[in-house]
């Protein structure tokens, strides 16, 4: 057993999840692969979205995977960082927009 919760080498073993549930695992990877193909969005655009989401989800495996994927696609460092800011802005916006809920509640409770 690994002494830490996350082990970078585990990313290589991702495909093994199929071994304990073949049909669902295979369907997932089939879907996953299809999602990242060129479509209405380019594969490059999808990679940047994945990189941003990897950060908002704070998934270290995804961050490793999509940082490498971005480099492979020739995506520049400023583009990568801007994508993360988009994720961060939505995260902080999502927190702050709940401030309206707080304000509504205060207004309802206060005389």
């Amino acid at each position: 057993m690994s002494k830490t919760y996350y082990d970078a080498a585990d990313l290589r073993k991702f495909g093994k999840i199929t071994e304990w549930s073949e049909e669902l695992g295979a369907k997932f990877f089939d879907y996953y692969g299809k999602v990242f193909e060129e479509g209405a969005l380019t594969a490059r655009e999808k990679s940047l979205i994945a990189l941003a989401v990897a950060h908002t989800e704070q998934c270290p495996y995804c961050i490793d995977a999509y940082t490498k994927d971005s480099l492979q696609r020739g995506i520049t460092k400023p583009e990568m960082m801007e994508a993360i800011h988009v994720g961060a802005a939505i995260k902080s916006g999502a927190t702050l927009v709940h401030g309206v809920q707080m304000m509504n509640k205060v207004n309802k409770l206060e005389m």
Binding site: R12, T42, K68, Q72, G74
Partner: protein, 351 residues
């Protein structure tokens, strides 16, 4: 950024035996990853055999004005291995009678061989269809004596293939050294000025991209579009095609992979991306590589690992295409670099 070759630094990895030992041990000996031989056996592609010869690639020497971090040749200003006139004459005899449609001169910086121009002039008389010189671009601006290279290339209708790791300064200079980007841009503009790379021009100018780090190249066409757009918008530069080439885990790139603790992940990435259809067209099946001292190899990478052809004919002096075609290609784990994804060769993707 190294300023000397592995050889000049007396680095252990300069020894080809050491490189082959690394490539045969570790994750390949403990069974985590299949050896290349076992992998191609799965698809009945073992042993790898040559098809018809198409490309004769000649390495004019390992001397270079640059010391790129990823260089598989371990080239640099300190390398003394340079093709002699005697070997060049032997090569010219072969060039006159070869069935190959492409002659590909490489190095090091081939232009630094003192007899480069004479050799090009003589070789051009053979009338080979596609005559390539692999130029690193900065050589054109390295010294006044090279300033007229664009015109020289034009005179002999040379197909110029040049390295350009990125369209941004930072990534280029990190891989190839400070100032390389600006000098390369200037050199490309000068090639454009004499007609190279311009849309519709017969003077072919292609660029080679290899990743500046421990990752594989992305889609060649997508990268070509990005390069074209950026170089045109920022510097008004035109070129014809972009070849995306995978860095093979040998020589200085192997040293980098090990030092940066990326070796295992990189090999896993190569094996994961293994593509049997790339094996069909891998360049060793249509190429002969000639070293500065006239020995023959299945490819430039095998040359750098000192793996001479498995044939009775091992030297340009004894060259015989029919005998050479009847050989088995020597493989090792570095070959995964040519079969990953869309495949990789000196002419770009193969699948």
């Amino acid at each position: 950024m190294a300023t000397k070759s592995l050889k000049a630094r007396n680095n252990d990895i300069a020894k080809t035996s050491k490189q082959l030992e690394i490539l045969s041990n570790g994750i390949f000996s403990d069974g985590e990853l299949p050896t290349f031989a076992n992998k191609i056996k799965e698809t009945n592609q073992f042993p790898l055999r040559p098809k018809k010869l198409e490309i004769l690639q000649i390495n004019l020497g390992y001397i270079c004005n640059q010391v790129c971090e990823h260089c598989h040749v371990d080239a640099g200003p300190d390398r003394k291995e340079i093709m002699s006139v005697k070997t060049m004459k032997q090569c010219l005899e072969v060039i006159k009678k070869t069935e190959a449609h492409t002659l590909d001169l490489t190095g090091g910086a081939p232009e630094m061989n003192p007899n480069f121009r004479w050799f090009v002039e003589e070789a051009s008389k053979a009338g080979i269809k596609d005559f390539i010189v692999r130029s690193n671009l900065t050589i054109i601006r390295a010294n006044k004596k090279y300033y007229d290279l664009p015109k020289f290339f034009k005179k002999y209708n040379i197909h110029v293939v040049s390295s350009m790791p990125h369209w941004t300064r930072g990534k280029t200079d990190k891989q190839r050294g400070n100032g390389v980007f600006d000098t390369s841009i200037k050199a490309l503009q000068e090639l454009n000025n004499v007609g190279y790379g311009v849309p519709g021009s017969s003077l072919q100018l292609d660029l080679v991209y290899n990743p500046s780090g421990a990752f594989l190249p992305g889609d060649q066409k997508g990268l070509e579009n990005d390069f074209k757009k950026a170089l045109k918008e920022d510097f008004n530069i035109d070129f014809h095609h972009l070849f995306a080439i995978t860095n093979l885990p040998i020589s200085r790139f192997l040293e980098y992979l090990i030092a940066s603790e990326n070796y295992e992940d990189y090999m896993v990435a190569l094996v994961d991306a293994y593509n049997p259809s790339a094996v069909e067209n891998v360049m060793c099946t249509n190429t002969i590589s000639v070293s500065w001292d006239g020995y023959l190899y299945d490819c430039d990478f095998n040359q750098m690992l000192n793996l001479k052809v498995a044939s009775n004919v091992k030297h340009i002096a004894d060259y015989n295409e029919a005998i050479l075609e009847d050989r088995t290609i020597i493989i090792n784990q570095h070959c995964y670099g040519c079969t990953a994804g869309a495949g990789s060769s000196c002419q770009g993707t193969v699948a």
